[in-house]
Symmetry: C2
Subunit: 265 residues, 2 copies
């Protein structure tokens, strides 16, 4: 087992001191959500530690950015799938800003456009990246699972699945600091997406948290909310598993996936 | 990079000498299908080589059997999703035997029931395995992607996605021989599922191949068939990536997934 891995000991299921048979108070419920972040959020993954710690080479960072593109570009599809199932105009309106944030009022002012600046800066071809031809199958399956989740689950759970945003500001701050410190390419142009998200994610997360606290009337529904957040941490974690496996250790790139220049022979 | 990995060099896209602008003959089309198997089938994956070569410890084999269960148990859901979209009774009838093979005429005579004999023999708890609580998220996402594929794609492609069965007899034979040779638990009771499949898979594969050869009238449709087979090889490959990553190298078990006894502390 590598030293990168030895640092992290996976914990299994959160364990709070709330009896199993009663509704959690709003504070207990919020704590339970935060606890999931502390135990399962992908900021704990060794691949993230390597990325933010300057331990990845250029080809590995390209692989990360290329694969993460598919997640990024699928978020508005996810949000529109979700919005199409919301039953009241006020809920749909509240969700609308997410689509505007990512797709833009004009395309070039949206988050996906800002994300593509990172692709440029890393010397990747935009057309190749947006074709998703070199995507890891593990990335595609995880991201598509997220879109399918919001297409199929009850409204409470589909809204809850976005609540990993509660944990996002920390990782975005770490990412901006870590990348800026360790990599020459990491300037304002390359990191524009992440810098902008710092201002967007908290309002989205707050809205979602208020909603699930208000709507989860029974302990069973509260647990369904927590399971939806766990599902989402799995979606994020599995993407880093696939990257770490293919490009770091053992470094076996699946047939058809992106091969960095230094791995070509 | 480990020695297990150094043995396999991933190839990227098959390359046959057929001009791009004409229909392939049935023989060329069949060759193109077989070529995908030679380049992308999961029999090439280092985890399979370790499994069949007797190099896995008991906990690693338990993890394989537990995760493979979800694939196994999802196949009838996949086949019924597909059958529900077939437009003629003769096609639905032709497909029916697959469901009978797996679910049984009576449950206890079906493939899933035989598969659970392997679970018993490996000392795993049936209820824990069938709950899928300890499943790797990567397994769930890959298998669900297969079910979703047949729910969404045109009839030709959804049928084509089963054609990895063309490559299955070899791996089933290798598996039975390899497991019997190397592991004490691998008796007739444990391997009943795989032994039975040796007789079932070829007839299914032949039906599917004849169908796609008959129905793919244009080169574009032939390429869509090949892409559907590639998609399916990705589904199988990604499951072994997730197993290898979590339980062999680097050996990082995702939060919530099955922990073998020898990894508990």
């Amino acid at each position: 087992m590598s030293s990168a891995v030895a640092q992290i000991k996976p914990t299994h299921w959160y364990d709070l001191d709330v009896p199993e048979d009663r509704l959690m108070t709003p504070d207990e419920f919020s704590d339970a959500m935060q606890q999931i972040g502390r135990e399962r959020y992908h900021s704990l993954h060794p691949f993230h530690k390597m990325l933010h710690g300057g331990e990845l080479n250029h080809g590995q960072i390209q692989a990360w950015a290329l694969n993460r593109y598919y997640y990024q570009a699928s978020i508005p599809r996810k949000d529109l799938t979700l919005m199409a199932r919301l039953r009241t105009p006020d809920m749909r309106l509240a969700w609308r800003s997410r689509v505007l944030d990512h797709d833009g009022v004009e395309v070039e002012t949206g988050g996906i456009s800002r994300y593509l600046q990172l692709i440029d800066r890393l010397g990747l071809d935009r057309d190749y990246v947006t074709s998703t031809e070199g995507l890891l199958p593990g990335t595609r399956f995880a991201v598509d699972a997220y879109v399918n989740f919001v297409a199929e689950r009850p409204e409470l759970e589909m809204v809850a699945s976005s609540l990993t945003e509660l944990f996002a500001p920390t990782i975005h701050k770490e990412r901006i600091a870590g990348l800026s410190e360790h990599y020459d390419w990491a300037d304002d142009y390359a990191l524009a997406y992440f810098k902008k998200r710092l201002g967007e994610a908290p309002k989205d997360a707050e809205f979602g948290r208020d909603y699930v606290i208000r709507e989860a009337h029974t302990r069973e529904k509260q647990e369904a909310v927590l399971n939806a957040i766990r599902f989402k941490t799995d979606v994020l974690w599995a993407q880093l598993d696939a990257l770490h496996y293919a490009y770091v250790e053992p470094g076996l790139i699946p047939p058809g996936a992106f091969v960095p220049d230094d791995r070509k022979d």
